[in-house]
């Protein structure tokens, strides 16, 4: 393949992956999936019933792998019957989003019903308002992941079939969303009622913010908050993962010889080293700027 074509395809994949990453994180935030879910689950037990959707499907990697594998399977079946790729990918993503909606419904109903003794009601309007949003985001995620996988399978001639590629990218986008985006929601948004940077004291467990700027807080408020930073940064992280991991073999194409293949490996190692150093510098700079956690005067008195 022409190197220029390869770079063009790679750019398209990177763009699709960036959107997928952003929508994946926001989709998990609407339903409080993954890490923040433990506090949503805990809240009623600590006498804090709430109106926040609990989408306890599983960790983000398996649930996104499910969406993308279903989308990839449906699309691959449709393509093999002669349907156009764009139509097949869109229908695959619709099927995946619908099934994800049923998972979101059963987990909210089940988790709330299992908290009967803590008097957590099941709010049907929470389901009605949240599940379409969740399905919308999951459609965007699945469609973009399918675009990435389809381009890899057809244009870049990857040896893996479409459903398997979609499955693997689904796990990856879930893992990136879980590690990058959740921090923004779980650590900050859920505990805006404690001082910034104070960490989660055991006494505050389950004491999540339940009242919004206006009315009672729900998952859609949380996705609004996360759309400002957590979602986009997840998109950038996943977009970079897809782009950089493809870039090294697009520029140093291993099919042109073993030596160039090894150059691509070395380029990959250099990129990882640069990222490690960069991250370390950000961490050191942040610690210098914000310092360690400062005790309150009250705490200092108690300690003395």
């Amino acid at each position: 393949m022409e190197p220029l074509t390869g770079m063009g395809v790679l750019a398209l994949m990177g763009a699709a992956a960036t959107i997928a990453g952003a929508s994946e994180d926001l989709e998990s935030d609407v339903g409080s999936q993954s890490n923040p879910n433990s506090q949503v689950q805990l809240a009623p037990q600590m006498m804090y019933p709430h109106r926040i959707h609990s989408k306890a499907v599983s960790g983000e990697p398996p649930s996104n792998a499910l969406m993308c594998a279903i989308g990839g399977t449906t699309a691959s079946v449709l393509v093999s019957t002669g349907a156009s790729a764009a139509l097949a990918l869109a229908i695959g993503a619709i099927v995946a989003a619908t099934i994800h909606g049923t998972y979101a419904a059963t987990s909210y109903l089940g988790r709330s019903a299992s908290q009967k003794r803590f008097k957590q009601p099941v709010y049907l309007d929470v389901m009605r308002s949240h599940i379409p949003v969740i399905m919308g985001y999951s459609f965007i995620t699945t469609f973009c992941i399918l675009v990435v996988s389809y381009l890899m399978a057809t244009v870049l001639a990857h040896p893996f079939p479409l459903p398997l590629l979609a499955f693997i990218w689904g796990i990856t986008v879930g893992a990136v969303g879980s590690s990058t985006g959740d921090v923004h929601y779980g650590a900050e948004r859920q505990f805006q009622n404690v001082e910034y940077g104070s960490g989660l004291n055991a006494a505050n467990s389950g004491n999540i913010v339940r009242k919004a700027e206006s009315g009672l807080r729900n998952g859609i408020d949380n996705s609004w908050f996360c759309a400002k930073f957590g979602g986009p940064v997840t998109g950038l992280a996943f977009g970079m993962t897809v782009f950089l991991s493809g870039w090294i073999t697009a520029v140093f194409d291993p099919s042109r010889g073993d030596a160039i293949g090894w150059v691509s490996v070395i380029a990959g190692v250099i990129i990882v080293l640069i990222l490690i150093l960069w991250n370390r510098n950000i961490e050191v700079a942040a610690r210098k700027a914000y310092g360690t956690y400062k005790e309150d005067e009250n705490e200092a008195e108690v300690a003395a």
């Binding site: 689950q41 399977t73 059963t106 299992s114």
Partner: protein, 269 residues
Amino acid sequence: MSAGGSGAAAEAIPQNNIIAFGVAGGLIGIYAAYFLVDIAGQYMSFIGALGAICGMIWGAAAVRRVASYGLGTGVPSIGMLALGMGVLAATFGLAVGGIAGPVLAVISAAIIGLMVGILANKVLKMGIPIMEVSMTEIATAGTITIVGLAVAMTGTFDFAVILEQVITTGYIAVIFIAGGLAILHPFNANLGPDEKQDRTLMCGLEKGAITMIIAGIVASVNEGASGALTILIGLALWYIGFSGYYDRVKRDAYDVVGSGLLPSKEELE
């Protein structure tokens, strides 16, 4: 007390009955599909998915039992482990077993599961009393799920056909993840101190029906199997599962309200 606690889960249906349901239903479904596709025609391939649903409900019951010992966030992992062991056992059994393939797959799954259970308790010292039994159950249920769905997709458990139409085409990925979530999701979705066995298992039926629909979508392009009937029966079972589940949610929940404020302080006391 189940879920989040650390003790045996309360069971309305004894686990032994569910084991019998899972093994017998699963194997009967797989073999009935295999023979009836030859005798009556390819549209009988849907029976394989019914067998797989028996396996998934059994798997969900087994996950529920072992995860009640305070496994919490380990529930998804154990579901993935089930299908991981299942893929190994299913490919091995079908590759060497011929007509006895599914039985051989089930037996090898039981052996792998038992070994993993012994490792978990003796080496990792997890100290869960029913670990060995549950791991054996989970691995076997995962295997029945994989073989059942593969039969529903292809109409046969002949390894050459499965290799060509399920594994090389990548559809094994969707069997793996959809089957795994059907086993792990029911208990995970109902986690909490007031979890009930029948509600969890009804959720298992609903999720199993979804995998049946997916198997039907794949079957529609394979010559040996028929997709339309599988998808239709899958949709009907999904409806039965979801409405049954919603009825049980209404029965078990503190309150099901269309909308409303949070319970007041007086109510909470």
